[in-house]
């Protein structure tokens, strides 16, 4: 388990967190390389299904991050996202899907150091949780069934 390298996907908005992560780079602050970023124009654009797709494709953890409330480049995308994530989280909890594997955060374009913190704390947490076996099994079981049926 000690050589487990978690795969973490970050869904971030272009204007705050992506720019914040750029600032982490320009500030040469180091963080765990397990995280890979996908850029969206706004957190409002991030479809909840994409999170499930990330788990289904082998992600062990997810970060969703955008502008702080009131700071959205498009005024309100992050507020809509917030409601979406409230509902999503409640549903996932109810179905027993592990929400400890998802970090939701607000990281602004000026918070380069904070981005590194968010990444590192998420990676540390996922490392402790280990690989997301139950979702992977869900997918693998399905694949096995397919093979059997063929």
């Amino acid at each position: 388990m000690s050589d487990f390298e978690p795969k973490v996907v970050a869904f971030v908005c272009n204007w705050c967190t992506y720019a914040g992560a750029d600032l982490t780079g320009t500030s040469r602050i180091k963080y765990a390389s397990n995280v890979k970023i996908i850029r969206f124009p706004c957190t409002g654009r991030i479809d909840f299904m994409l999170l499930l797709k990330a788990f289904a494709n082998g992600a062990d953890g997810i970060i969703v991050s955008g502008c702080h409330p009131n700071d959205c480049h498009y005024t309100s995308g992050n507020f809509h996202a917030k409601r979406r994530w409230i509902m999503f989280k409640e549903l996932m909890d109810f179905m027993g899907i592990d929400m400890n594997r998802i970090t939701f955060s607000w990281v602004s374009a000026a918070e380069g150091a904070r981005w590194a913190d968010v990444v590192n704390s998420t990676v540390t947490r996922i490392r402790e949780l280990g690989p997301y076996v139950s979702y992977k099994e869900l997918v693998n079981k399905s694949v096995e069934e397919e093979v059997k049926n063929d």
Partner: protein, 267 residues
């Protein structure tokens, strides 16, 4: 019942409506939906304990809609469905006559949408009691136990989409599961595909589910999938203090916001 039949007959006779959507007894004695266009056949209408289906699902069906103005036998969930459908521009309020049925199975005098709104406001809008008990039981489990519980249910799913067809709110002409660019939901009825389908369905009904439980009743393999949407209905009320289907101009919970919406998990 006589009142209901008389009222239906009257509406059809004086041409107020072209069709009355209600229940009739089927050949095996079970209730089934009836679409009465001939006043002479109004006598077939029944209303008793057998009549549980949410008839509002037919309001958006072209075959029914195209007949003209509709009257519909409406219990509380049907009325709430109508409110949602008007709010979402799927039916027009003045195109529907509501034949309201009280919890005591009495015909209500619902003159217009405003009266219906007043009636709904006085009703208990929570989930049905037996479902509340199951929800409480599930919420008391650990996440791992809940996962196992639901996975056992999901294994049964045959992806027939009866849950979707039975739901008055699932009126899209193209459902996400029919989108294959990209293939959002795996087509197969397997643990993965079924789980994601039910997540998708519940999320799409967040803030819109009126707790009729029709999806669960319709499921041929007995998955209590209505508990998913009902849990979210509870949470919508918990977070945003809204019950779906209480007015004819509801704003959707997931397309509106308050700047001070409370949550505790975003860092």
């Amino acid at each position: 019942m006589t009142n209901l039949i008389n009222r239906a007959k009257e509406l059809l006779e004086n041409g107020t409506v072209k069709v009355v959507i209600g229940y009739e007894a089927g050949p095996t004695g079970l209730a089934r939906p009836a679409f009465i266009t001939d006043p002479a056949k109004a006598g077939k209408l029944i209303y008793d304990d057998r009549c549980v289906q949410n008839l509002a699902v037919y309001l958006t069906k072209a075959e029914v809609k195209n007949l003209g103005k509709m009257a519909i036998v409406s219990t509380l969930p049907v009325m709430r469905s109508i409110m949602m459908l008007i709010s979402e521009h799927q039916v027009m309020g003045d195109n529907i006559v509501v034949l309201g049925i009280s919890t005591e199975k009495e015909l209500l005098d619902i003159a217009d949408i405003g009266v219906m709104k007043g009636y709904i406001e006085k009703c208990d809008l929570r989930n049905p009691e037996k479902d509340r008990e199951t929800l409480a039981m599930l919420n008391a489990l650990t996440p791992a136990e809940r996962f196992a519980w639901w996975q056992k249910e999901m294994e049964k799913c045959i992806k027939c989409y009866a849950c979707r067809q039975a739901c008055p709110m699932c009126y899209c002409i193209r459902c996400t599961v029919e989108v294959n660019q990209p293939q959002w939901i795996p087509v197969q009825a397997n643990p993965h595909g079924s789980t994601e389908w039910h997540i998708l369905r519940a999320m799409h009904l967040a803030g819109r589910c009126i707790s009729c439980g029709e999806c669960g009743r319709a499921c041929p393999v007995g998955i209590p999938c209505h508990l998913l949407t009902m849990q979210l209905a509870d949470q919508v009320n918990n977070y945003f203090h809204v019950h779906a289907g209480t007015s004819d101009n509801m704003t959707s919970v997931l397309s509106t916001y308050e700047p001070n919406d409370k949550e505790s998990f975003i860092i």
